[in-house]
Structure formats: C-alpha cells, structure tokens
C-alpha cells in the first residue's frame, strides 16, 4: 500500500448500550470458555457415574477425608481413594432463599454438610425432599446420583433417609 491520506474506518451499527451519559455509564461484556482439567481429582467425578462417592485416605497417617485430596494436610503424604458410605447425617444445614446469579433460579435450595461414620471430615451437598423446617442437625440422609452426568459435584445429592 502507499499512504492513504483519506483512509476511513468503515462505520458500523455495532453500538454500545449506555445506561447514563453523565457520568457516562456503559454495558461491557466479557466471556471466557475454559479448558478445565479436574487433574488428580478426576476419578471422583468419573466414579459418580458408577454411583460411587469417593473420598481420600492418607496412606501414612490414615486420616480420612470426605473430599478428594491428593495429599494429606495433616502429614503431607499421598492419599489413596476411599469409598465413602452413602448414608450419613446432617452436620449442619441452611436453606438459601437468595444466591449467586447462576443459582437464583434454583432458590430456595438446601445446603448441608454431611458427616459420615468413620470419616474425619465433612462433605457439602444439596439436600432435596425436605423443606427448611423439616431439616435438623443429626438427621439421616442418603446419597443419590444423577444418571446423566454433568461432571459437577451436583451429580450427587442427598435425600432424607429413614432412621
């Protein structure tokens, strides 16, 4: 090209949404598609498809986690997979009437921390089949699994269990 002294950017009708002019307030959008690896925790998510709930057990000190953890925070050693019981108790709970934008349409929903017999730590999950006033600490709950996985920890959820 030689120099074009009269070059002109083409006009487009791609506008900007403006919420105010003084100060000038505009809408600005951003989005991202991540390539996200579950890395050393992958087996947890795959196992949900086999209706298995996997925690971790320290090979050295035996501390047992209700969550996937490649290494033990107590002694620093490697853990191995450890199948969790599918029945536990409500250690604590809440019912969310509001929430993050992503989950607003699902409100109200119950969150619980589950304690399992013989396991040293807890597991956080949704509880369905009970309203806020039906839930109490110590209540027995059991795990259920989705058939069509989303490879999310919500592929497992809990329901009330008979005492």
């Amino acid at each position: 090209m030689t120099l074009d002294y009269d070059a002109k950017m083409p006009e487009t009708q791609e506008g900007t949404e403006v919420y105010n002019t003084d100060p000038l307030v505009v809408k600005s959008h951003y989005d991202i598609d991540y390539i996200h690896s579950y890395a050393q925790d992958s087996e947890f998510f795959r196992a949900l498809g086999k209706k298995k709930l996997l925690g971790s057990k320290c090979k050295k000190c035996g501390y047992t986690y209700a969550t996937p953890r490649g290494h033990c925070m107590m002694c620093g050693s490697e853990t191995e997979w450890h199948e969790l019981p599918q029945v536990g108790k409500v250690h604590t709970f809440t019912t969310c009437y509001f929430g993050s934008e992503k989950f607003l349409s699902e409100t109200p929903f119950n969150l619980i921390m589950v304690e399992f017999e013989g396991v040293d730590s807890l597991f956080m999950a949704r509880l369905i089949g009970a309203d806020q006033e039906d839930i109490h600490i110590g209540m027995k709950v059991r795990a259920r699994f989705k058939r069509n996985l989303q490879f999310s920890p919500t592929d497992v959820y809990f329901v009330p269990a008979r005492e």
Binding site: T67, M73, T95, Y97, F98, S100, L122, I137
Partner: protein, 420 residues
Amino acid sequence: MKHKGRNVYMISGGVTKFAKATPDMDFRLRVKKAFDYATNDINLELKDIDGSVASYFSDHFQRQLMSGIMVQDYLGLTPKPSKRVEGGGATGGLAFQTGFEEVASGRMDVCAVYGFETMSHVNTWKGNEFIALASDTNFDYPVGGFYTGYYAMMAMRHMHEFGTTVEQLAKVSIKNHGNALHNPYAQSPMKLTVEDVRNSPMVSYPLTRLDVCTMSDGAAVAILASEEKAFELCDKPVLVKSIGTGTDTMRLSDRPFQKVPLLPNEKESDYKNLKYPGVHSFRAGRTAAKEAYEAAGITDPLNEIDLVELHDAYTSSEIQTYEDLGLCKYGEGGSFIEEGKSELNGKVPVNPSGGLLASGHPVGATGIMQAVFMFWQLQHSVKKHFKNDALQVKNAKRGLIHSHAGTGTYVTVSIMEAVK
C-alpha cells in the same frame, strides 16, 4: 514474633464515604480522595513517602487487572516501590500488616497502604457470584456457591453447639447499625429492633438481610511510619504494637475436629468436649489473635483491650469472633452481646463505627477503614473527623482490629496503642 523489628506507627488515615454506587468517581479518584484527606491531615508531601502497598480483592469486581499500579500512578507515587496484597475479605488487614512489615523490616520509613473496591460494576447477585468464585470452584461453588449460605451453616452449627439464638444475632445488627447513626462515613445507619431484623427478607436461614453486610464502593488509606519519622511528621502517632495472621482450609468440609488452641486465660478443661474448629469457629481467627497477643504481651484480652473493630460481614461471625479473640470463652458469644458487653458503653465496645454491617464492605478498603477508625479512636480525634464525638470511646488506649476472609480462610488481628 520471633524477634522484634523496628517500631511501627500509624500517622494518618483517610476514608471515603462508603456507598452502594459512586459512578462519578473511578477507583483511582476514590483512593485519591482518601489519600488527600490523610496527607492533608498532617501536611505530608509525596516526597515523604517511600513506597506503598495496594489492597483490593477482585480483578472481577475491578474489571481491570493490576488496578494497584493505576492507583500508584494516579497518586503520583511512581516510580516508588509498591505491590498488591490480597486475601479475600481479609485483604485490607493483610495489606495493613504488609505495610507494617515494610517499615518494621527497615525497608521504608513511610509507607502508604491504600485499599479500594468497585462493587457497583455488577448487580448484587452477580457480585455474590464473584465472591463465591473465591470458594472452591470444583467442589463448593457448583453446589450453590453463595457465601451467605456457607456462613449460615456455620451459624446453625454454632447455635447447635452453644445454644446461640437468632435474637442474639439480631442484637449485633441493632448495635452496629445503631452505632453508625453517628458515623458520617457509614453506608447504612439504622435504628432497628429485633423484629426488624427477623422480619427482613430471609437470605439464607437463619440469616436475614439485616444480618448481612451490603456491597459498596469505597476507598481507605493508612499511612505507616518508623518511630523517628512518626514523631517528626505527626503530633499524635499511634503505635501498631503487633500483628497476627491465621489461615484455614478453603473448603468448610475440610476443617478438622481437634483441640482448641488455648489463650493464656483459658484452660484445657474449659473445652473438654469441644471438637475444634469444626464449622462453628474460626481457627484462623484464634491463630491470628494468639500471634498478636503473644507479641503484644496480652494475657487477658477482655481486660487489656479497650475497643475492637472486627469483621462483621455477618452478625453470626461477630459473635463467633468474640470467642476467637478470647473476649469470652467459646460458647459464650451469644450471651456476650446479650449482656451488652460489646455495646458502645459496654465492657469492650465492638464496632463502635458500625462495622461492616453498617459502614459497608468495599472489600479491599474494609480492613484499612478499620485501621483508620481505630487510629482516630486512639488519637481521641473522632470528634474532629466525624464532626461529633458520640462514638469516641472515652478510655480508648489500646484497640484491636480484625479482618477476615470467606469462612475464615485468612484472618488478621492487629493491636494498636495510643502513646501520647
């Protein structure tokens, strides 16, 4: 502390009025306003400042990475040294402590710590989502990521372990919103009753709207200095006597069940059957308090601390924090507020400013705002800065500030003392 570094003093501070949205100013200008207030108060010049620490929580809220350097630049502090410090809700406390270390280590004589957050960049529920991205995005966020939900579960367990009641939670809200009636910088001053709190919309059981702080735009600045410079530049410097920090696991699920780390005024038999921290207490808060108390030689916190500004993003966490700080024993937090011990005229006023609940919580600014309010208390200059002295704690000689990140992942405690 292993060995003592140089003495560090706070010599000035500034805060913008926290508000839901202040679109007339960007974060740089907001910090500049707080910075000018602080420098004008003691006629500090740019050349007196050796460097800075920037405090903000979230690239997402800011819609701008490396916001710290843009403030450094706007304030005219380039090419001086600076860095950003972050740790969720405790960002301000951590940045304040980093400023302390800049001076204590002998590197800087005068260090400006500036904090800010622009939370009006998104609607409230998207804001809650941003905050929830600071929980485990593989295991916690997808289950219904919402920090109020996590705190509500902690509150429920605290109620279960210790018999804490929702009325006791409400009393924290009443106290803090009420104190804020006299704080011209506060976002939400309100005169409330227990019924008001309990009848406001339920957010996450048992926490209602009035148990939870709001989102804010705001900025705060603290100027720290070495002993020599402090007395040269300021008529009434305040000593930062000691600092402490604790951490805990990201996932609530992973919190252990062990023995309580005891303060000097506690004994093992106090907590025979208590599994600690579980999800009812903040081990990081206790750890931070222990470090700060040991370095300051405090063995009886309730009687050796005159006032406290602590991180009450939720009413329940204020009660839990009384216990972590050893103002009362674990389990006694509910009665501590019920008996009025943390009221403005109580044994140890807690959040005389109104706390986060009523002052607002622009995350990166919050911990520094606490330092500024505490500085004014210990200078006995509340009247000058608030234009009224209703909130001036009369005997304020030694104060504690406390900053806290999501479910207690990072907690800081710093002790400040009047010296004149």
